[in-house]
Amino acid sequence: MALQSIKAKSPRKIVAPPRNGVIEQPRYACGIGAMQSVSAIRRAIPVTHCGPGCAVKQTRGIAHINGYQGAGWAGSGSAPSSNLQEREVIFGGAERLQQLIDASLEIIDADAYVVLTGCIPDLVGDDVASVVSSFRKRGAPVVLADTGGFRTNNFVAHETVTKALIDQYVGDASAPTHTGLVNVWSLLPYQNTFWRGDLTELKRLLEGVGLEANVLFGPASRGLSEWKRIPQAQFNLVVSPWLGLATARHLEEKFGQPFLHIAELPVGGEATSAFLREVGAYAGLSERKVEDFIAAEEEIYYHYIDGFAELYAVSTSMLPAQFAIVGDSAYALGLTRFLSGQLGLIPARQIVTDNPPFEHRPAIDAAFARIDADRPVIPDYVEDGFAIQQLLRETDYGHKPPLLYASGWERALAKEIKATLIQVASPTNGEVVLNRANIGYRGALTLIERTYSAIMSPVS
């Protein structure tokens, strides 16, 4: 039963980018941007084998200007880098890398040194693998992630890093399976501006129902010592539409570890309770313990929703009814479910910007379609800012200006279409993001606070 008839989406009359090519207003980085996945692991350091500007640009884009997160324990610009020059382009850079790793081991106090490659070594054909393996033979904790800048973006390269760490650092399963231990594969660290808060909430939820969670990245993780325990986990939990699946499949193959894939991030009371029940059933947890936790959390959560209702229910006709979202597939899907399913807002345009590999798109489409049987949501996959904004401009939001969940690149467009902008996507600009979450019970409340503060502030 549709409460309001939704007009068909306007035809897409955008100036189409040539091939799959041009990108304005980048929303992700290249393969070597996965250096930030390494920086997100306590006691690990990225060693970048690339040109002189590569590492700094990725860090600036993903970590600094995106919510002013800071770049990790080693700090911005601290990543060892071979800063390759013409000499190495002509004669090869393997020797330079050898020197750099040697010196990094001497100077940097880390437990794992993850070598990531940029465009230059991949184009000139440096034999990076033998350099790195010579260190491993000596027992040095050096890992190679062949990220080759031009080959892919930082999402795909993130799993090059996770698999490399698993194969070259974690090693083989030596201890027996620890029932109740779960490895969590979810948001892309740093790239998703709210990853720290979200992973912390995810851990709190999983531990609330009786699991022990290796979240592996960020301040809620113990870092590399957690990675060492990956093989002992009872199962892997992938909480994202597609990111993490390759890692989970790899672990399934390597250690015979099963995995549970939940495409939707749990945002808000309904989704989070459903999420916990699904995980609980899969892991064989005590139903009573799961239900007790859910009941306690829901009591608090709905206390706040109840209070909020006195604003929301009283003022709905003055508040935005429709929303558009521009973000990575995890947020686009999870937030749409929450905003539509829990707040009752009307999804007008959902734009996925992380360029999910094509084999995953049918499943992502299906997940969006499941959100509301009455009016299936069809996502657009666009990465070019100009095309994104054309789509947003052409969307029919009904008789009131919409809510726009997007990035800092949408600031001008939001003004133009009089939308209320809530930044939830990379790059989040002009906004400091520390431990805020958007997922779970607590994160959803924060998201409601941000959303309705942004709406109420200019009219109060």
Partner: protein, 500 residues
């Protein structure tokens, strides 16, 4: 070395200016370095020996510098002909551009930049067709006044003929299509990017002079407010600010100005020398406009070439009278403070003068590079001689292209009261060491001229009062360097010397 505008690509700084990115010594040993033998007496062919070690940290590249410049020309579009990673920091460039526009009172726009977003396929088949398509798309979407194309490591290696594509499409799109050759691996220092875009605008945008504008002074700037016009207007001159935040017209008329100058010769040396060589626009030879001595000479030189000597003297007198009382008060409070600098050499030169006037001791500097000479008349020698004469020597006066580990080692040795930094990477480092840290980020004009001494003095006082943040931080965070290594640095056995 005469400037050759016929070549599509600029010669790198190391080729033209003997640029160093690693060196340890004192300011005085850089004076007239090009005329002396090797300072370390190694007997090698070079006049100054670069030191280089096996360890290096991520730095910056010429293409990044070109992005910073090209995206801040109003009405321009930049096409980064590269994989997407080269544009990963574009939001950071945008932040800088928005700040500049706010400070200049301009309507705030976002940067307009396209990445050709090259992938594996393009590395095999070449990126020429995607580039051609991107140029057409940029013209269609944005109706720009000019289209810049920056090259990258990858497009340099695969050998895309960017010049031909630019030439072929220019007529079709009806605006200048300007290739900027700035592959990151070609130069060891990002400042080559300044020269690369200056070279490109000289070849493609600066017009043959149609008249001489005798009251127009070219000032080569970075992002930040226009602090020049209010000063020059008092003597009936107009400032032609280029490149950050400027209009295309400002670039076109560079050839018609009476003279060129800057607050930073490391930034401006190429453009200034080329305009003098090609169009006879006088490239002023004063030391940079910092401190009383520098600002006085700078203004007098401007007055001399524009026939405004008397007006300049009145202006100088008025400015001195305005700022001296407050500077005396600041000096009384700041006298003897020990400050360490971490910034580009041009900025360091400026700060040495400003701090000298405030009675502050500059106890060392980490400069991001050192050009042994500058293009045209060598303002490097003029500047260093000026600083030594008025403010004395600075030791250590080290060179490193960012390199937080060297900064950490120097700070361990010197233990300053406060650090002034213009580089995001290093700010956080000194702060983590518990040292009050004053950033010069964003606003490059803070120390400029007479007001600059007051600005810096006030800010220093404020930073000293705000020091608790750094102390608290240092108590709770760790640097990534091994303790033994840092200890070896303080005992006077720097890694660089050991392995050079």
């Amino acid at each position: 070395m005469a400037i050759n505008l016929k070549s599509p690509a600029v010669a790198t700084r190391e080729q033209r200016l003997g640029t160093l990115i690693g060196w340890d010594g004192e300011l005085s040993s850089l004076a007239q370095a090009d005329a002396r033998g090797c300072s370390s007496g190694c007997g090698g062919g070079q006049k100054l020996c670069e030191i280089s070690g096996p360890f290096s940290q991520s730095s910056g590249c010429a293409e990044q510098t070109v992005q910073y410049e090209a995206t801040q020309v109003r009405g321009a579009v930049l096409i980064s002909h590269s994989p997407i990673g080269c544009s990963a920091g574009m939001a950071s460039q945008n932040a800088s551009y928005r700040y500049c526009q706010i400070k200049r009172g301009q309507q705030v726009e976002d940067v307009v930049a396209l990445s050709t977003n090259l992938g594996e396929r393009d590395m095999v088949y070449g990126g020429v067709e995607p580039l051609r398509a991107a140029i057409r798309l940029a013209a269609e979407r944005h109706k720009p006044r000019v289209i810049f194309i920056s090259t990258a490591c990858s497009t340099g290696i695969i050998g895309d003929d960017v010049d031909s594509v630019a030439r072929e499409t220019q007529e079709e799109v009806g605006v200048p299509v300007v290739p900027v050759h700035c592959e990151g691996f070609r130069s060891k220092h990002w400042s080559t990017g300044f020269d690369a875009i200056q070279h490109a605008v000289l070849r493609h945008i600066v017009r043959k002079p149609t008249r001489r504008q005798a009251d127009l002074i070219n000032i080569f700037v970075l992002s930040g407010p226009d602090v020049y016009s209010p000063l020059l207007e008092q003597i009936g001159l107009r400032a032609n600010l280029v490149l950050n935040g400027c209009e295309v017209e400002n670039i076109e008329q560079l050839s018609e100005a009476a003279a060129s100058t800057s607050f930073c010769y490391s930034l401006s040396s190429y453009l200034g020398a080329a305009l003098e060589q090609e169009y006879g626009v006088i490239d002023l030879k004063s030391p940079p406009p910092y401190g009383f001595a520098g600002a006085d000479i700078w203004l007098r030189d401007i007055g001399k070439v524009t026939g405004r000597e008397a007006a300049v003297e009145t202006l100088i007198e008025r400015e001195h009278a305005r700022v001296r009382p407050r500077i005396a008060e600041l000096k009384a409070k700041l006298q003897g403070l020990r400050v360490f600098l971490g910034m580009g050499e041009g900025f360091a030169h400026g700060l040495i003068a400003v701090l000298g006037e405030l009675g502050v001791n500059v106890v060392g500097a980490l400069n991001f590079h050192h050009d042994i000479i500058y293009d045209g008349v060598d303002k490097q020698d003029i500047t260093i001689a000026h600083l030594l004469k008025h403010y004395g020597d600075v030791k250590p006066f080290s060179v490193a292209n960012g390199q937080p580990h060297r900064f950490a080692a120097l700070l361990h040795q010197v233990k300053p009261d406060l650090v002034i930094v213009r580089h995001g990477v290093l700010n956080a480092l000194s702060s983590r060491l518990g040292i009050p840290t004053m950033p010069l980020e964003g606003d490059s004009t803070l120390p400029f001229g007479y007001q600059g001494m007051i600005n810096i003095g006030e800010e220093l006082l404020s930073q000293l009062s705000q020091r608790r943040f750094h102390k608290s931080l240092a108590a709770h965070v760790r640097l990534p360097y091994r303790k033994e290594w840092l200890a070896s640095q303080t005992q006077g056995e720097p890694l660089l010397e050991r392995v050079a």
